[in-house]
């Protein structure tokens, strides 16, 4: 197996008495879209800023592209791209100018026109950033992280505060990065975003990893009970079962035999949202 792009062992970070990150282990492989999912304050941004070299860790080992981000230099920065959680673009430069400015920082940048196309701003290339919508500015932000043609891209909550159509456009851009073979480290507190974009998801809660896996089998969703609900004589009936097929067969068999209609019959698998909420303890608040 090739060396992972990101490798974290026992990562810790404290601010005074507060432990924001309490022993995280994870690995991200080349070409993967990796989602780091968790509620606000779970320690996502602290972790990603340690990986980006913005923060010093309190303990543990971190390797990003084979180097320790705390001591990595210019050559390492040539290979990564960063989209910060909140960052504006220069309002007085056009889309093309902002990208040209950033392209000049790198030895082997991606062509500016190609980058404009990649983030879907072709029609806006000569518009000043101040005239762009919030979603378009964010895509320019992503473009500025891509113009250096990095191997590894960090995206910290790229769609927070977006309306649904802007989110969908941003998702298309991010999904396009996978086709370019980039490794993407994405943080988000949106379940659907992780589900839609990521190959693998790790859920973080209160500074610790609480679950990890592909979006499909995350949190061992397969072994969680299925809920069967219906109305009988105006009464809501709901039951949970791990053998839904057999139980449903018996239930409907009895109903048919007695000539009863089970109104509003529903069989529901736990959604990823349910798994996420139960794992992060957000559902008991």
């Amino acid at each position: 197996m090739p060396e992972p792009v990101i490798s974290i062992r026992g990562l810790r970070k404290s601010y005074g008495d507060f432990e924001a990150v309490r022993g995280i282990d994870l690995e991200v492989q080349a070409g993967e879209v990796f989602a780091f999912l968790g509620p606000n304050g779970a320690g996502k941004t602290t972790t990603v800023e340690i990986l980006e070299g913005y923060r010093k860790r309190s303990g543990g080992e971190v390797s990003v592209l084979g180097e320790d981000p705390e001591s990595a230099g210019r050559a390492w920065r040539e290979r990564i791209g960063i989209v910060l959680q909140s960052c504006r673009v220069d309002p007085y430069l056009t889309v093309r100018e902002s990208l040209e400015l950033y392209a000049g920082y790198y030895r082997r940048p991606r062509p500016v026109e190609e980058t404009i196309e990649l983030v879907g701003l072709t029609g806006k290339a000569d518009a000043r950033a101040s005239s762009l919508s919030g979603g378009q500015q964010r895509r320019l932000d992503v473009g500025m992280a891509l113009v250096g043609d990095p191997e590894l891209l960090f995206l910290d909550e790229p769609t927070t505060g977006f309306d649904p159509s802007a989110r969908r456009q941003a998702w298309e851009t991010i999904a396009g990065l996978r086709d370019l073979g980039k490794t993407v480290f994405l943080t988000t507190h949106y379940m659907d975003e992780a589900q839609r974009l990521a190959d693998r998801v790790t859920i973080l809660s209160r500074g610790q990893v609480v679950a990890g896996g592909t979006p499909e089998d995350l949190g061992d969703r397969e072994s969680l009970p299925t809920r069967i609900s219906y109305r009988l004589d105006g009464r809501e009936v709901s039951l949970e079962t791990t053998t839904p097929v057999a139980d449903l067969h018996e239930l409907t068999g009895r109903a048919v035999a007695q000539g009863l209609e089970l109104e509003g019959l529903e069989v529901t698998r736990p959604s990823l949202e349910d798994v996420y909420l139960s794992l992060t303890g957000e559902d008991d608040q």
């Binding site: 913005y54 920065r77 960063i82 909140s86 960052c87 100018e97 400015l101 920082y105 790198y106």
Partner: protein, 257 residues
Amino acid sequence: MSGLALFAHQFRYDQKAFWRNPASVFFTVAFPTILLLIFATVFGDQTVEVRGGIETTAYYVPAIITLAVISATMQSLAMSLVIAREDGRLKRGRGTPMPAWVFIAGRIGNSAVVALLMLALIAAIGRVFYGVAFPWERLPQIVFTLLVGAAAFCCLGIALTAAIPSQDAAAPIVNALLLPLYFLSGVFIPDDQLPSGVIHFADAFPIRHFFEAFFAVYDPGSSGGGVEWGNLAVVAAWGVVGLFLAIRYFRWTPRGG
């Protein structure tokens, strides 16, 4: 790119952003020009009792150039760097391979060029409208004095960003520092009308020394008018203090949020 090419690259885009920003153009270009026109109109017929009595306009031209240099450097840098810092733009820049010094050098280069342009603009207005001769024979000394001042006030402006917590606080803090000192240092009010106690107070700060140094090389009434090493040394010392504070306290990441 080599370091120098990177600097030229950064400088080019800083210039674009500067000239397209109405606030920076107003405060650094329009405001000093308007002040000169107002002072010259209101006090134009009087003479000032410095160095044997000179025309008021001959006093105000170097005074307003002093102000314009400080606006283009300390004021402009402090405000634009705080705005860029709180926008997250400084932090993003630090995440690229661009060395930190290139970014700072680009901004300082931008300020220095604007300061030199303001020298040309105010001197030209003074010459054309008010007949204030430009002392061409002392051009090297004038440019030297201006650049020492520009460098010092750039350092002070960068250091000052550390004391400004937010974008909204930038203009009030910068103006609260500079405006009173312009008055007390004789930039707005000719210094023969200021009590000596005020001048002594202003002598504790760099604006007065920079003004004196610049006035001495520019004053058309004076024949000697060499570089005022004493005053410039005080300005430079302030600059060095600013430089140390900037290196120690300048931050690339937003203070709010």
